[in-house]
Amino acid sequence: MKKDIILAGVGGQGILSIATIIGYAVVESGLYLKQAEVHGMSQRGGDVQSNLRFSDKPIHSDLIPNGEADIIISVEPMEALRYLPFLSEKGWVITNTKPFINIDDYPTEEELKAELDKLPNKIALNADEVAKEAGNVRAMNMVMLGATSPFLGLPVEKLEEGIKTVFGRKGQAVVDLNLKAFNIGRKFAEENK
């Protein structure tokens, strides 16, 4: 059992909480983990990514080699495409379709859709909208985690436990909101995979 995952987004969108929760479930399942993050300069509205690898055997490289990623999780559609060189042939792209536009030469909606349509294995959903309906747009990243959960091969309870641990200190209401967002995302992926 080995999974290589690339998490992608724009600085400030909260990809690291997704990584933390998967990391929690991985460690609780007794598996090996390596998770490389980007700190520093690129946090200010620039593109950010995190490489997350887990396996039942020791892991060597902190970085995922080309063409080896099983999953790209992106909280922003253009950022999903940036990491395609790392995706394996059978890999899945799980992406939020809501663009984050802070540059002038951002592609058009049609261009983006055309590229995403080319991907054979993908789950694409407007996670911002889903999160808003669930109660707060800030739970967007938990919608994305939920949508990824069927592909992770990790027990759902462990992921839910991770959500409780990460958001616990913000109170029960925040935990419930994030669990709700997670489950909606999960259901969407189950129905569309």
């Binding site: 055997k57 490289s61 902190d62 080699p65 080309n66 063409g67 261009e111």
Partner: protein, 531 residues
């Protein structure tokens, strides 16, 4: 044994704490910042009252660390690679004074320049100073090294350099914790002359340093962090330093590597193990993160001896960080190519946050300088360096911390008018004050902006030593009180700010303008903490 999930930086910090650390000294800098931040959050550190406040810069950190070592306690000094340039004077001389309590100088190197001005390799400094150095290949070694390195440091009474690259600093993995050692007792150096580098003493100390080089080599040969792994196929031997060992192993998950491998994590390089490889293998491939330092040593200037492959002959790229694919290519192994990035994907460079005080400062400066055209603003390092980018295009230089003021002084001396320097509050505390003293002494016609956002924002909100003291310090340095102007960088103050900048520009002498408004993230953080 307890298992922890830690970044490479945190693993080193935890390892140092568990090895009986008494104090950490450092100045923030990506990728090293999380070392001290981990200690600041640690319960063990609180319990033991371990010093872990930020210092003014890397030189002061290094000297403070050396002072703690002088007093017999174990200490670490942390910085990013370019910080070692700032600390180079005490670091180089510490090779002669040596240490008393164990001291590790931990330096975060940034190959590929993810967040830096260059990609210099700190191992050169260790070689230059003739001091031992260690570099971990993974998080567990980052945790294990401090205990070993403190002992080594105390055995030879020398500082040990710990070098760790960005990828390892910022990658998390499981680490097994070992026993927690007590701190050292306070004790003075046995030899009262040890730290007195007068020429007569320094010559003796240098002779001593030269004499123990062979012992340090022997330590490397016998180190548990260096190992020789046999392989059947002797057509090639692989020397793999630090993190490159992971990239090598990534390519041999299913099968064992057929070539002999020498894994190096401790320097000076282990001579006997290298001799063994040179004797039994036809060619040597050197994998090292950063610059080709081991490769160059083995190859020699004329390259007429051993056949050595690596970054110098194009087997690996000359610049930038390594990865598993580059190593596979060097070994002619097959690897997957992956798809291309679609053409529509646009670069998304970092930018000043919406609402950032620096934005309003730059808009005001731009308006004042409109009649003069480009080329009048000397920048520095921090979030505000992003003012180089559109839509601001406000600054023209970024070299090293503190260089804004001094470049402005130099250019003004050459006759450039106006000459503006733009420097952050933390950077001013790091190395701006001496430059400002020069400006005052030379009566330079410059306007220096000290951007006071109340924090060291670029590296993630650390305190800085001059917080709340900027005006006093500038006055103390000799800037005239009426030419120290505080402005509020806000849209609705724009016209007022432009006027003040114009006034100071037209004053023939040193003016300091302090645009003062909190970084919006600090503001948000404080608000959240109040709740």
């Amino acid at each position: 044994m307890e298992k922890l999930l830690l970044l490479g930086d945190e693993a080193f910090a935890q390892g140092a704490l568990d090895a009986g650390l008494s104090g950490a000294f450092g100045y923030p800098g990506t990728p090293s910042t999380e070392i001290i931040e981990h200690i600041q959050k640690s319960d063990l550190a609180k319990e033991r009252h371990i010093h872990c406040e930020w210092s003014a810069n890397e030189k002061t950190s290094m000297e403070e660390g050396l002072g703690m070592s002088y007093a017999g306690k174990r200490t670490i000094v942390t910085m990013k690679h370019v910080g070692l340039n700032v600390a180079a004077d005490p670091y180089m001389n510490s090779a002669l004074t040596g240490a008393n309590g164990g001291i590790i100088v931990a330096v975060g190197d940034d190959p590929s320049m993810h967040s830096s001005q260059n990609e210099q390799d700190s191992r050169f400094y260790a070689k230059f100073a003739m001091l031992p150095a260690m570099e971990p290949s993974d998080q567990q070694e980052a945790y294990d090294i401090p205990k070993y390195a403190f002992k080594l440091s105390e055995k030879y009474k020398l500082p040990v350099l710990f070098r760790i690259p960005t990828r390892l600093c910022h990658s998390r993995s499981g680490v097994t914790r070992t026993e927690v050692l007590p701190e050292n007792e306070l004790s003075l150096p046995k030899d009262p002359n040890q730290f007195m580098l007068l020429p007569a003493i320094a010559r003796k100390r240098y002779q001593h340093l030269l004499e123990i080089q062979k012992d340090l080599e022997k330590e490397s040969e016998e180190s548990p962090f260096n190992k020789y792994i046999d392989g059947k196929n002797k057509s090639l031997g692989i020397i793999s330093c630090g993190i490159s060992y992971n990239y090598l192993m990534e390519n041999y998950q299913e099968s064992k590597c057929e070539y002999p491998i020498l894994k190096i994590s401790q320097y000076p390089i282990p001579r006997k193990l290298i001799e063994k490889m040179a004797d039994e293998c036809d060619e040597i491939l050197v994998l090292e993160e950063g610059m080709p330092i081991v490769e160059e040593m083995l190859k020699g200037y004329l390259g007429r001896g051993l056949v050595v492959k690596g970054r110098l002959d194009g087997t690996l790229p000359r610049a930038g960080e390594l990865n598993a694919n580059l190593v596979a290519k060097a070994l002619q192994l097959t690897f997957k190519d992956g798809k291309n990035i679609p053409e529509i994907v646009a670069p998304r460079p970092p930018a000043l946050c919406v609402g950032c005080p620096h934005r309003d400062t730059y808009l005001a400066i731009n308006e004042v300088l409109k009649p003069f055209g480009q080329g009048h603003v000397f920048g520095d390092i921090g979030c505000y360096t992003l003012g180089f980018q559109p839509p601001f295009n406000s600054i023209n230089t970024c070299i090293d911390m503190g260089a804004s003021i001094t470049l402005a002084v130099g250019a003004a001396t050459a006759g450039l008018f106006p000459a503006f320097g733009v420097i952050g509050d933390s950077t001013f505390g790091h190395s701006g004050m001496t430059g400002l003293a020069d400006a005052v002494d030379k009566k330079s016609n410059v306007v220096i902006f000290i951007l006071d956002n109340s924090t060291t924002a670029m590296t993630g909100m650390q305190d800085n030593v001059l917080l709340g003291k900027l005006e006093q310090v500038c006055m103390g340095i000799g800037v005239e009180k009426e030419h120290i102007r505080v402005i509020t960088p806000l849209k609705n103050k724009h016209d007022e700010n432009v006027k003040i900048i114009e006034e100071e520009m037209n004053y023939n002498g040193v003016s300091v303008i302090i645009p003062r408004r909190e970084c919006i993230h600090l503001f948000a953080k404080k608000k959240a903490m109040k709740k």
